[in-house]
């Protein structure tokens, strides 16, 4: 796996730039990753990212939009406002998690 340096941290990423090591992530890094894709983080953004981080170890995969809305409590509409166009991918990128599976 290639490594890259973001915001002064060396991290492992896949060829699309998604982080591959759950434990390498920190909030600082999340902030820097968000900046990379033009997302300015507010409390509401963090709420979504923190849900993804908490959910992942338990589920073994990145939460889908439906899961973030039904289990995480943030309506899908709002996710499109917070992370325009491709919310599922953008959230996974910022949270340092694998891209949500395309659902086979």
């Amino acid at each position: 796996m290639p490594t890259t340096t973001i915001g002064g941290h060396e991290i492992h990423v896949n060829d699309e730039g998604f982080m591959t090591e759950y434990d390498e992530w920190t909030e600082d890094l999340g902030q820097a990753l968000a900046a990379q894709i033009g997302v300015e983080m507010s409390d509401e953004h963090w709420q979504a990212i923190q849900f993804l981080r908490r959910d992942y170890p338990d589920q073994g995969e990145t939460a889908t939009l439906r899961r973030v809305s039904t289990v995480g409590g943030i309506p899908t509409k709002q996710l499109f406002v917070l992370f325009p166009k491709k919310p599922a991918k953008k959230m996974a990128y910022i949270a340092g998690l694998p891209k949500p599976r395309g659902c086979v």
Partner: protein
Amino acid sequence: MDETAKRAVRNLVILGGGTAGTMIANKLRHRLARTEWHITVVDRDDEHHYQPGYLFVPFGGCSPEQVVRSRHSFLPDGVDFVIGSVDMVNAEGNVVLLEDGRQLPYDQLVIATGTTPRPDQTPGMLGLEWRRSIFDFYTLEGAEALADALSRFDGGRLVVHITEMPIKCPVAPLEFTFLADAWLRGRGLRDRVELVYVTPLDGAFTKPVASAHLGGMLDERKVLVETDFMVERIDDEQKMLVSYDEREIPFDLLVTIPLNMGADFVARSGLGDELNYVPVDKHTQLSRKFDNIFAIGDASDIPASKAGSVAHFSVEIFVDNFLQHIAGRAMTGAFDGHANCFVESGDDKALLIDFNYDTEPLTGKYPLPVVGPLELLKETRVNHLGKLAFRWIYWNVLLPGRPVPLPALMSMAGKHPATQREKQEA
């Protein structure tokens, strides 16, 4: 008296008498002594549908009689068939409750209640235009109503739409699009129709190599593709799909795949995820919460395609595992997510894709290395005949649980990963 003889007969209850439930009942009845195990299959009715046949109904290519048979005739002697709707599973108490109040205690439970299209989950879908200009073909009634609408369709915007993934048979909407294109050409109508394919995915399909290949096939057929489209509602007055990010797609005729969800009793029983699928270990399909509950087929949350072929391959692995499990031994079989799907492409041709949890769809031959006869990822007439023959195989070989000369785990012999060049061409 020895220990086994003293023990009462145990109960295996299988919820759902569809593809997976029927195969399991047939295979396990032959492997479990009747003096030791009762087997009960529960379904809400006695009509077994060959769902892959729905695809051909809108084009007049498959009659309802070819698609429906009685369930009980596919169950062996020595299996109780109970007709009733499951209301709840009391997993702590090891008992299934039916809506009519009957109770079925179990020692081991298999949930095989599949997944169902739910048009009620998208605002506006079940409104004024349902079955007037909005159709699905994931139910027999829907496919028949669509046949009628297509026979009267003489031009305009025909939109094929997937609400959300996962859906069962994820290639079916693409096949429908290819068949619609060929059918319209055959009727001399293709020039008067704008054919649009709308998907929540970022390409034609989920797996990158197949997605590029199938996307190329949509381009060749001049199908407009709208990707990353998450529908929020249907505006049935203006006849358009509206996405969460406020894109609008007008239609004259909409063929939608509604949200697919597992059975509601799964949620009521506290056994499901946000789409009512049962979380299981992806290799053994044992529930992550209860060690006497398995979920097989479309009902589970394994990251494999929801398809009859997956149900079939996973049942092969499950049966041996189950026998080890009830004998108190560790399960040694591990399902690899093997899926094998024919993709109808119109004009009596089809392609075949073969993949699993870890491997992308491959090119090469199937099932016999080198000789085939079926070509993977290529449109051929033989593949189309293979798809048609499958209906016979389904009723006569698969459901009765007879051995099928196909390996359950994926074999790499005779196949090769698509080369860089094929990927680019695709």
